[in-house]
């Protein structure tokens, strides 16, 4: 015999279950995010308003916006921002185009398809340090293979590290090489979600392979392309390890004249060579804002594309 009270309690519990337990299920993510995402973010903001010497733990003083004011007048910051944008464009555009093309190839019936599909991811799981060291040798001034190849066709030799453009090109190449496979797999996944009858219909209408690719595959991939663009933007604007290891000088200044110092590298230099923790935090937050701005621009572009389709 179930009493009215018990029934009500059970109903209450079940309501609590349906209302409450979803929050419990997603709680681990938010707890971890609060601990490892939100807290460092806010703490960095706090630090950025201080004059904070990393070596003198505990001694810091509130300076308000002074770090940001100094940053906006710092020629080395603007130099680093320019380098970052240049390397980002030079690496992202060819990288995504190449990824699209590779995904298209992998989508066909190929011999050893699984092996190839896994193979394109290999550059991405290879140690970034190893990759950069190997490429730095390939781009060597005196005995690099790239210069040797260029010499065979009568060009060069190029001192890749010395020039602004040459160093940006070389670094972009390293970045692109690492991430092409990753993006190709994402494209491949969504290519396989495209209904096959679309291609069959196109083929009946006499559409060529390239027409099918540009008229069917690319438009159907649009959301994925936008996703990869945003992700590459976030990653590309934070490039640090490649320019750090590309410099044979082993210093975070990005070449003799800071010709390939990125914002992330500049932040590292200020934080861990100058030990100006507050200033480095201000750089971190400014970089974050720059990335947000670029993300918003991307979002607006996305909406425009959707409107065009209607």
């Amino acid at each position: 015999m179930v009493t009215y009270l018990q029934q009500a309690r059970r109903a209450g519990l079940s309501r609590l279950d349906t209302k409450g337990s979803p929050y419990l299920y997603i709680a681990p993510f938010f707890l971890l995010f609060a601990l490892f995402g939100l807290f460092p973010l806010l703490y960095t903001a706090y630090v950025s308003f201080n004059d904070w010497d990393l070596l003198d733990a505990g001694s810091h003083s509130w300076v308000g916006l002074a770090n940001y004011r100094e940053l906006l007048q710092d020629a080395y910051f603007w130099n680093a921002l320019g380098n970052t944008l240049s390397i980002w464009v030079l690496s992202t555009v060819p990288q995504l185009l190449a990824a699209l093309w590779i995904a298209h190839l992998l989508n066909h019936r190929l011999r050893a398809r699984t092996a190839l599909r896994m193979g394109v991811l290999l550059p991405n799981i290879t140690s970034i340090v190893a990759v950069t060291i190997v490429f730095t040798q390939l781009f060597g001034r005196d005995f690099g293979m790239v210069n040797w190849l260029l010499g065979a066709v009568g060009i060069g030799p190029v001192d890749w590290q010395a020039g602004t453009w040459s160093s940006h090109l070389a670094i972009s190449f390293i970045v692109a090489w690492r991430w092409v496979g990753y993006n190709a797999l994402i494209y491949l996944a969504s290519m396989q979600a495209i209904p096959h009858d679309l291609y069959e219909a196109a083929e009946l209408d006499g559409a060529s392979q390239s027409q099918q690719f540009w008229r069917i595959t690319v438009p159907m991939l649009r959301p994925t392309i936008i996703f990869t663009t945003v992700i590459s933007t976030i990653g590309g604007l934070q490039i640090m390890a490649e320019p750090l290891l590309f410099a044979s000088s082993q210093t975070p200044t990005g070449g003799s004249d800071r010709q390939f110092q990125t914002v992330a590298l500049f932040m590292y230099e200020q934080g861990f060579r100058e030990f100006r923790f507050g200033y480095a935090s201000a750089i971190a937050w400014t970089l974050c804002l720059v990335i947000v701005v670029f993300a918003i621009v991307n979002f607006l572009l996305t909406r425009r594309i959707a409107d065009d389709e209607d």
Partner: protein, 420 residues
């Protein structure tokens, strides 16, 4: 079948990733009761055989050495001190950074004054905090000489016997550059006279009584005529096309040894260790001559024991043992690093030591003489970073990115920025 293969491959890859991700930091006593002492260094200190001996004498100790590049090592040490975790039980510190560490003396174990009488007085002073704590045992001092490729000199038709060579540039660096120009006229293809502007500059400025800092820790790079003189000399050598334009200790510089890209290297005693490591194919072809003008110092190191370590007492014992006279003598004859303990300089096994790698050059006599003449230069907190900044400025000249005057101007501003 394919699925199983895929899953297995995925599992193997994942395991690989996890393994590489967990480079465990397990200090302290292990499960077998042994104490692991980590010792973090930059470059080769020549300790491998000594570790074996120490571990044999102390069965409960396991020694683990990590080496990193010069700048990386000191940057990491500073970070580990700041965050109060991650430092090794023993940390090597170079002359260029000892003043910076000395200012954070409270983060290091005081090694006491027991061994003061053993050391060169200036070496002892350099790692002493203002309140009289000793943060590091000196290992070696640099001294200065010029290491050169006898065979390349012969091919270029310039004097190649070490006494003739020393005499040819005895009066100073102007003669060194003149000699270089003679070398360049008939030099074997692809070989420059010296390795790079940054290294030449360090040697020249290392002979000055005052370098980057005055005694009261004020940076004087922009106003000290000695710095300008060293700069002008280096620029002159670069413009004479005598530089191989390589940055010291870089991968390209290492390759340069194998490819015979340069005929001379400014040579503090520890440089002999680097040359031996990099130029194995050229054993016996290298030789050592006196440095132009005589005297001078570049580099030299210390062993420190950060307070944050788990085995401070054992680490102190090991650091003291590694830097004790007997071991310093071993390192000198084995590798080439010059002792910082003057009592060793007159010992026959040191003073009379000749190196077969360097064509039986009397490196014992050469370097102990240099060490006795050595007038130490006061090093301030950012000396290491100033050195790097000047090197980058000289690289800009070598790369043709700037005129020497533009580069000097920017360098002085960059150095001022370091002082902020």
């Amino acid at each position: 079948m394919r699925h199983r293969l895929f899953r297995m491959t995925a599992a193997v890859l994942t395991a690989g990733l996890l393994l590489t991700a967990c480079g465990g930091n397990d200090g302290g006593a292990g499960s077998d009761g042994k104490i692991t002492l980590t010792i973090n260094l930059f470059g080769n200190f020549g300790y491998q055989k000594l570790y074996e001996q120490y571990q044999k004498d102390h069965p409960d100790i396991v020694i683990k050495e990590n080496t990193a590049a010069y700048n990386d090592h000191h940057r990491e040490l500073a970070t580990h001190l700041a965050t109060n975790s991650g430092a090794g039980d023993i940390e090597g510190v170079d002359t260029g950074f000892i003043a910076q560490m000395r200012e954070r003396g409270n983060l290091f174990t005081d090694l006491g004054t027991d061994r003061q009488a053993e050391y060169l007085p200036w070496k002892w002073q350099a790692s002493l905090t203002k309140d009289g704590k000793q943060i590091g045992y000196g290992t070696d001092v640099g001294g200065l000489a010029i290491c050169y490729r006898k065979d390349l000199f012969e091919k270029a038709g310039v004097p190649s016997e070490r006494d003739q060579v020393s005499a040819a540039w005895a009066s100073g660096w102007d003669q060194f550059i003149e000699f270089g120009k003679r070398y360049a006229q008939k030099a074997p293809a692809g070989s420059a006279f010296f390795d790079g502007g940054g290294q030449l500059f360090n040697a020249v400025v290392g002979q000055a009584p005052v370098g980057y800092y005055s005694e009261d820790d004020t940076i004087v790079v922009g106003s000290n005529p000695e710095v300008r003189k060293a700069w002008d000399l280096t620029v002159q050598a670069i413009q004479g096309n005598l530089s191989a334009k390589l940055i010291g200790s870089s991968q390209e510089w290492n390759n340069g040894f194998a490819k015979d890209q340069f005929a001379t290297v400014a040579c503090p005693a520890w440089m002999m260790t680097k040359i031996k490591d990099q130029a194995k194919h050229a054993a016996g072809k290298w030789d050592v001559a006196a440095v132009p003008g005589g005297g001078g110092n570049w580099g030299g190191s210390y062993l420190t024991v950060p307070k944050q370590g788990k085995n401070v007492e054992e680490a102190k014992k090991l650091a003291a043992w590694l830097s004790a006279p007997e071991q310093q003598a071993h390192v000198f004859t084995e590798m080439g690093n010059l002792p910082s303990i003057p009592a060793l300089y007159d010992k026959p096994e040191i003073a009379g030591f000749t190196s077969d790698f360097f064509n039986d050059a009397p490196v014992g006599r050469l370097f102990t003489t240099a060490a006795k003449q050595l007038k130490p230069q006061h090093q301030g907190p950012r000396a290491g970073d100033i050195q790097t900044t000047i090197r980058d400025a000289l690289v800009r000249v070598e790369q043709g990115k700037q005129t020497p005057d533009e580069s000097w101007q920017q360098m002085v501003e960059d150095v001022e920025r370091l002082a902020k």
